[in-house]
């Protein structure tokens, strides 16, 4: 199904929608900046332990287009390095949450009965605890490091995928092709992985591209609570949280990182919508 985008017809459809192209461009830009951060950032050393109190809290200028923060670090450089962390966060969190959620959801939807009952009640439990409370509790239990932060966000994310996969698997398992596979004696793993899963993937894949942005946001909410990435590592969410304290005087400290999050999330959303449109008509 990813191939659908890369065949010429899909690409043509994709390219025809200007918003999808904007999305692709933004995502490419963000990913490139993250990967090439040490080369692109004007002051790479400002991403780490660095203080320059003489140049602290300076408004945007030619030498610091996004201004400087409270200890004199270049905000633009930190935004560029911040993309590294934020993107990694999204990839890792979804990399953990999606397989767990989809796997459990498929199993519950296909097997039904006790399996369905137990798994979906657990999902309900997780969904009915406010996600931030859940993440904070887990972060509180573990030390507030980046790895643990990602685990915490993943723990609150998987139930949504379980829900999604569950609903899909439940309807798909009554479709003719699954019944046919059962009749010819295909093994259960075969039916789950080779027959049902591929039909759930377009929806899951679309949700992933939409969710990447939300994960970055959730991480920034954690940072607001002081539970996110450890300083001096730059993280977009923490930068906005820290900067929001100093509005309106040091407006650049919050506004530019917030715009940076906006650009990334907007990019992924537009790209996701574009991909979904292509796949929807492809099916």
């Amino acid at each position: 199904m990813i191939a659908a985008v890369f065949n010429s017809r899909g690409w043509y459809k994709f390219r025809r929608n200007p918003l999808s192209m904007v999305g692709l461009f933004l995502v490419a830009l963000v990913v490139l900046m993250a990967v090439l951060a040490p080369l692109v950032a004007p002051y790479p050393q400002h991403a780490g332990a660095f203080v320059d109190f003489v140049n602290a809290s300076q408004p945007p200028s030619w030498s610091n287009p996004f201004g400087t923060d409270l200890v004199g670090r270049d905000v633009l450089s930190r935004v560029i390095f911040g993309y590294q962390i934020s993107l990694m966060l999204g990839v890792v969190v979804l990399g953990i949450a999606v397989p767990i959620g989809v796997g459990l959801g498929l199993a519950a939807g296909y097997f039904g009965g006790v399996v369905d009952y137990v798994i979906m009640r657990v999902v309900d439990v997780f969904l009915s605890i406010p996600p931030l409370v859940l993440a904070m509790a887990i972060m509180g239990f573990l030390e507030p490091t980046l790895t643990n932060g990602m685990m915490a966000v993943a723990a609150m994310w998987w139930p949504w995928y379980a829900r999604l996969a569950y609903n899909m698997a439940r309807s798909e398992s009554r479709e003719g092709y699954v019944l046919a596979a059962e009749v010819i004696g295909a093994s259960t793993p075969h039916i789950l992985i080779r027959e049902i899963l591929p039909n759930c993937l377009p929806a899951v894949f679309t949700k992933i591209t939409l969710d990447l942005g939300f994960v970055i946001l959730i991480a920034s909410s954690l940072s607001f609570l002081g539970l996110g990435v450890q300083p001096p590592t730059p993280d977009l969410g923490s930068m906005v949280a820290e900067g929001a304290r100093y509005l309106p005087d040091n407006w650049w400290m919050a506004v530019f990182p917030a715009l940076a999050i906006l650009v990334a999330v907007l990019g992924f959303n537009l790209l996701g919508d574009g991909l979904r449109d292509v796949m929807d008509t492809d099916r």
């Binding site: 918003l19 009640r121 657990v122 309900d124 439990v125 969904l127 009915s128 605890i129 406010p130 996600p131 931030l132 409370v133 859940l134 904070m136 509790a137 887990i138 509180g140 239990f141 949504w160 829900r163 942005g213 939300f214 946001l217 920034s220 909410s221 607001f224 609570l225 969410g237 906005v240 949280a241 929001a244 509005l247 309106p248 919050a254 917030a258 999050i261 906006l262 999330v265 907007l266 959303n269 537009l270 919508d273």
Partner: protein
């Protein structure tokens, strides 16, 4: 409500109870693994080890976890959720004080989400792929991608600091007495008792925080509605209605919107717990004395009883809201009603 619906409602309530028991066990364990000794934090900086030990004893913190849980279940069945170490008051009192404020906020945010998000979505779907669609899409994405707390700070600085259009903090202006407590929702109570000046004051206070809380939801609702309505516009019955020359408004509300409300409502219901959780950021900025902020303070102070109590109440509301959503969905969609009957039978 037919007998089948009643059966399914009872089944749902029973399952909700199971979920609530699961939540209580989970949060009971989670609350105890958050680092920090609750007794030490509660007693403050100058407490001696002896004092800490004494309080731990009094709070039964040295008992095995299952014993503590059994004790908790016994007491909570009698309506006692214990004392909060953070406010030094019974948790039940605290929740009674703070829950209405948050509910009012979430309720207003929910109204804003539907009242603004749904029409935007319908508009976008009606003029699909045109500039209206793209504009709505960009607007709603901007709403979705800006963190709630940033909305809160921006709205406050914009409309309270620079423009001074709205009040900054709290639920009522200084000198305005709260209306008699019937529901605890100041706007509703003021209306019920006919105090229209108080009602107006309460509404001006809730506009900014509710908007900040709703921004993400407005964007999401608009996008969901657009997708569902767009799908509905493609169905044969809408094409037929169009062919018959029915007025546009009637097509939109009768044929396109009604089925399209189902996924929107479902997501809104699932989002409820998240919104109650997110409310604390808004509550912190607008000094809104609500339950969400209480819950976060409870976690930061490792206030075990308050954490468990708050989460249980939020979960219970989440489950109730989702049952209500399902009932509404069933009412909107005859096919599900039939399926329920089959499942029940």
């Amino acid at each position: 409500m037919g007998p089948s619906l009643l059966t399914s409602l009872i089944r749902r309530l029973w399952m909700s109870l199971l979920v609530l028991i699961g939540v209580s066990m989970l949060i009971f364990c989670i609350a105890r693994v958050i680092p920090g000794d609750p007794a030490r934090i509660a007693l403050g900086p100058n407490a001696t080890q002896e004092q800490v030990d004494l309080l731990r004893e009094r709070l039964h913190l040295n008992d095995p976890l299952p014993v503590q849980y059994a004790e908790f279940v016994k007491e909570s069945l009698q309506g006692d959720l214990g004392m909060s170490l953070y406010t030094n008051r019974p948790v039940v009192t605290d929740i009674g004080d703070f829950l209405p404020a948050t509910l009012e906020l979430v309720l207003f945010a929910g109204i804003l989400m539907v009242a603004i998000g749904v029409p935007l979505g319908v508009l976008a779907a009606r003029y699909r792929d045109g500039w209206v669609d793209n504009l709505v899409r960009l607007l709603s994405l901007a709403g979705v991608v800006t963190p709630t707390f940033v909305w809160a700070v921006f709205l406050m600085l914009g409309f309270a600091f620079f423009l001074e259009w709205f009040p900054v903090a709290g639920r009522l202006s200084e000198g305005v007495p709260p209306p008699p407590g019937i529901t605890g929702l100041y706007t509703l109570d003021a209306l019920l008792t006919g105090r229209f000046a108080t009602f107006a004051d309460a509404v001006t206070h809730i506009v900014l925080p509710a908007t900040a809380l709703a921004m993400t939801g407005i964007g999401q609702t608009a996008r969901l509605t657009r997708a569902s309505v767009a799908q509905a516009y493609d169905t044969p019955y809408v094409h037929m209605a169009e062919a018959y020359g029915y007025p546009e408004g009637r097509i939109a509300s009768r044929y396109a919107l009604r089925p399209a409300m189902i996924p929107t409502l479902t997501i809104l219901g699932l989002d409820f717990a998240a919104m109650l959780g997110n409310a604390f950021l808004v509550e912190a900025v607008f000094a809104w004395p609500g339950l969400a902020r209480y819950g976060v303070q409870a976690i930061l102070h490792k206030d075990l009883n308050a954490i468990v109590g708050t989460v249980l109440v939020i979960s219970a509301f989440f489950l109730i809201v989702n049952i209500l959503v399902d009932l509404t969905v069933a009412w909107l969609n005859p096919r599900i009603r039939l399926e329920n009957r089959r499942a029940a039978g």
